[in-house]
């Protein structure tokens, strides 16, 4: 009797329950993502003073300015792309090499595996403080070690001059984010059947040939996802660059996310900041679409 009563009730509630359970998520994400996103689109068409919040309709004027000869969009885009490509390449090389090593039978393997993860999980603030101390002119470990080893005669300015600042940024970025590559690749390596390596060995394949013909094809799919995610995250990285170099010297390391912040809260031009943010998203969408097309073309 009770079971018979429960069935129709469950039927009705099931149809309502699904949407009902997701409703709070939709409401919250609507308020903190969808609404701000549309607000940013709208703001990009106005000139807004951050302090007075006076808004003036300028249409596509902001975009005209940022793409024009007075704008900084193109240079910042190049800086952002070079930063993304360089640090991502380093993350991949370091991450794959480390994953291969940690997949071998080495001493205290699980301790080594956890130590490698730390840079990824500590706050960027901590990472930057430590590296700024390492990069310190007269008392930083790096300059002291290099002078002690006779590599350089005088302290090097690692963060305040070019190209040093860019190289330092790329290295710190690689150090901070390569564990993501390690984790993803290591997980995949553990599921490659040993028999594939045995077969390759019987065919006389050396270490490099086994890596190229067995390992690389096996981890290819994972690497594709890793590259996509890390490229997006590096492209939009704000904290590390803002805290390590602040975009300097002058604008040499000022990527698009830093310009958005600077326009809004340094130069008090909220509309212009929104226009930079929207342009940045369009670029990201473009790359995302190109990636999807490339993946589909290969499949």
């Amino acid at each position: 009797m009770s079971a018979a009563a429960a069935i129709p009730r469950a039927g009705i509630s099931d149809r309502l329950l699904g949407p009902l359970l997701i409703a709070p998520v939709v409401v919250v994400l609507g308020a903190v993502i969808a609404y701000p996103l549309f607000a940013a689109l709208a703001l990009s068409l106005f000139a807004v003073d951050t302090l007075t919040l006076d808004a003036q309709w300028v249409g596509l004027g902001n975009f005209g300015e940022l793409l024009g000869s007075d704008g900084r969009f193109w240079t910042a885009l190049v800086v952002t792309l070079v930063w993304t490509a360089a640090t991502l390449a380093l993350q991949l090389v370091l991450g794959i090499a480390m994953a291969l090593l940690l997949n071998r039978d080495i001493w205290m393997r699980s301790l080594a595996r956890s130590l490698v993860l730390f840079p990824y999980f500590i706050s960027t603030v901590v990472a930057v403080l430590v590296w700024r101390w390492l990069f310190n002119d007269f008392f930083g470990l790096i300059n002291l070690a290099l002078i002690g080893g006779g590599v350089i005669d005088a302290p090097v300015d690692w963060l305040g001059s070019m190209p040093n600042a860019f190289v330092s940024l790329v290295v710190v970025g690689a150090w901070k984010f390569f564990p993501f590559v390690v984790i993803a690749v290591l997980a995949r390596l553990q599921s490659i059947p040993e028999s594939l390596y045995e077969a390759a060995r019987l065919d006389g394949a050396g270490v490099w040939a086994r890596f190229r013909d067995v390992t690389l094809p096996q981890i290819g799919e994972v690497l594709g996802i890793v590259v996509l995610l890390r490229a997006i995250w590096d492209f939009k990285e704000f904290d590390l660059i803002f805290l390590l170099t602040g975009g300097g010297p002058i604008d040499a390391t000022r990527t698009l996310p830093l310009i958005v912040y600077q326009e809004a809260f340094g130069l008090n031009r909220m509309g212009m900041a929104a226009a930079y943010a929207v342009s940045m998203m369009i670029v990201m969408l473009g790359f995302f679409a190109a990636y999807r097309a490339a993946v589909r073309g290969r499949a």
């Binding site: 009730r9 359970l21 840079p119 706050s123 984790i183 909220m270």
Partner: protein
């Protein structure tokens, strides 16, 4: 024999690299225990010759660090609770029910997971000012859901999908309601995943910097990330021991959490859980 030599070689190589990666963090630890004259001593001492905890004491008694720490704990905990509560129900809805718009919602969540926070800072700032929430911990919790909820939802969805639907159907045949089956069967099965997601969400909120920089501008409500950075710029000369002590203290909760999650991460299933 040759296998033993090979293991020795690979071990040395791997550990040399691991130590190189860990050097900045070991250096942070070492500096935080050094007295001032040793911090600026040449040649450098790798370990403190004279160990001191004076900077930890200073940090906890003379600076705003304890307040920042409490603020971060409150914001990260509240964000986690809100996000897990909403995310668990939402993820269950996405895996178990069929309704119009479900796929669209799932893709929207994935896309918002990849959305740059920097796009949202200006509208969120204006929103908080309009709501009268500027410079409050509440503004941070609300803003943090913008990245934490899509992240948690995405993770929880995969954990929920791994719970077999048959178990739930069996419970319902035995007379349980849908929500009863969810609470008694699915939730306990998904609990390890929910706990991992909660811990990862906590780390994300604990480490957040940009939104805190934009939304909070008073010492009483600053979290650790922006708070510790003001300690860097507010002094006359930079006290590296103090800053390194702050860095260590601010990383302690993360180390505790990571120790807890270690097996989960090392097995490698955690790759999807890492966000940067």
């Amino acid at each position: 024999m040759s296998a033993g030599v090979r293991k020795l070689g690979w071990s040395l190589l791997a550990w040399a690299l691991v130590l190189l990666v860990a050097t900045p963090l070991l250096w942070m630890l070492s500096t935080s225990f050094k007295p001032e004259n040793e911090v600026f001593a040449v040649p450098v001492t790798l370990l403190p010759e004279e160990w001191t905890v004076e900077y930890y004491v200073l940090l906890l008694t003379e600076t705003s660090f304890p307040r920042y720490f409490a603020n971060s704990a409150i914001v990260a905990t509240l964000t986690t609770l809100v996000v897990i509560a909403l995310g668990t129900l939402g993820a269950y809805s996405l895996v178990r029910f069929r309704y119009r718009g479900r796929e669209a919602i799932a893709s929207a969540v994935l896309l918002s997971y990849l959305l740059p926070s920097v796009v949202l800072i200006v509208p969120l700032y204006l929103m908080m000012v309009k709501l009268g929430l500027a410079n409050s911990l509440a503004s941070l919790v609300i803003a943090y859901t913008s990245f934490a909820l899509p992240y948690a939802l995405w993770l929880l969805r995969s954990f929920m999908a791994a719970v077999p639907e048959d178990l739930e159907s069996a419970a319902m045949i035995d007379g349980a309601t849908r929500m009863g089956a969810f609470l008694d069967v699915t939730l306990p099965q998904a609990l390890p995943g929910i706990i991992s997601t909660a811990l990862f969400t906590f780390i994300l909120a604990w480490n957040e910097y940009l939104l805190a920089l934009v939304l909070v501008n008073a010492d009483e409500v600053r979290p650790l990330t922006t708070g510790v950075m003001t300690m860097l710029v507010s002094g006359f000369n930079i006290e590296w021991s103090l800053l390194m002590a702050a860095s260590v203290m601010m990383s302690v909760p993360l180390i505790v959490i990571l120790a807890f999650l270690q097996s989960y991460l090392v097995r490698g299933f955690g790759a999807g859980a890492m966000k940067g």
